[in-house]
Symmetry: C2
Subunit: 213 residues, 2 copies
DNA sequence: CCTTTTCTGATACGAACGTATCATGATGCG
DNA sequence: CGCATCATGATACGTTCGTATCAGAAAAGG
């Protein structure tokens, strides 16, 4: 038997190359040959590890979801005390394209997302719908908890508000990716809304309490 | 000279065919041949009226923007008395995919939008950025006017809030297009937010004041 | 040592794309 | 009445895509 290389590492290397292309040149530029070149391997190797292109896309999407999840929990963890507000703030800012990494992730994610409602897309049911739903119910739970703690007024509907916050963040992300505004401006808008929800008087972010334009 | 047909009508017929494809099978399925078949003309005719595919896309985008604009003003007009709140409500609900026409428009629009930050896209500067900006400043003006009228509390920042509302609506639209929820659910979420902004006590929509899940 | 299995490379194939070319009715003007 | 010109049709070309095929190198096992 031959050199016995780590298959999973190889697959990951190729999948990451696809994500890199998706976040720079767009998913429609992620052809088999481009991915192979980006990963520094031959086209045959890509075919060897992924029999078909759909398998490659599916694997790359899984890698992307994993990275997104890791980023969300890292963002929450970085905020220190795990309060409901920190979870909400950390979750939303993690998926807002503000720094280089989040721009990469959201760009790639948007590519997959639009691939879903174009093609008949059997991959729609796999990740596309379940991932935002999880995020949304997580947010709803935290908002309800914040209500119990008196940080949020009781007349807001947690599921409705959670959905609104997530949709707001996604919409802001799209505007950043589309070049309408930069990440800092999007963050200001999000913070403004969060401040209105969590009526503690202080701004959500630690570094700056003013949100003037 | 031959039959002397109306060129503009022909171009429109072909452009609409592209939009129809974009909103059903996706923009990447809108090939020259598909557009020709959808419009019921020959491929040569499409080439005759649009020398290159980019010209066709540009023209179709212009048609789409025009239809969107018309829909927004029609939606505002249908609300009767032109109050600030009606303008805001009419604008946002017009671009939310709730009925068949708005689904068509938003689907097509999303296709163009994602085409922009994939390709180097010279068409990004033409419509992509200016259209949302116009909507946003319109909303900001109306929110400020509502503040003057006492319908909105004075501590909200009109530009920031306008941006948030538009981003929220876009995000909700994406979730509807992605199949995460239906148009009615998205409308409930939007109404919930508008009710919180315009503290008149009544729901924004005329038909139902409850927003329970 | 040599077989057998695992991995990698070069190249070919059919389809679909955007675009270009050749050819041909139809019509209004001189 | 013809002929130049606008409008349309049929088809070809070169490229790129996903995928398939043919084949060679490298290392464990007998």
């Amino acid at each position: 038997m031959p050199k016995r290389v780590d298959h999973e590492q190889r697959r990951r290397q190729i999948g990451e190359a696809l994500l890199r292309i998706a976040s720079t040149r767009g998913l429609q530029s992620a052809t088999m040959r481009e991915v192979a070149a980006e990963a520094g391997v031959s086209l045959r190797l890509v075919q060897y590890y992924f029999h078909t292109k759909e398998q490659l896309l599916l694997a790359a999407l899984a890698y992307l979801a994993q990275q997104l999840t890791e980023r969300v929990s890292a963002s929450i963890r970085a905020l220190g005390p795990i309060t409901s507000r920190a979870v909400v703030y950390g979750t939303l800012t993690a998926i807002l394209p503000t720094d280089e990494e989040s721009v990469r992730l959201t760009r790639a994610y948007t590519g997959f997302y639009t691939l879903v409602f174009s093609s008949e897309a059997e991959m729609a049911t796999r990740h596309g719908a379940t991932y935002p739903d999880k995020l949304e119910s997580l947010l709803a739970t935290q908002i309800a908890a914040a209500q119990e703690a008196g940080e949020v007024v009781t007349d807001v509907d947690p599921p409705l508000t959670a959905a609104a916050l997530l949709a707001l963040t996604n919409g802001l992300g799209s505007s950043v990716l589309g070049g309408q505004r930069d990440g800092a401006a999007a963050l200001r808008i999000l913070n403004d809304q969060l401040d209105r929800l969590f009526h503690t008087g202080e701004s959500s972010t630690a570094k700056d309490s003013s949100h003037g334009s």
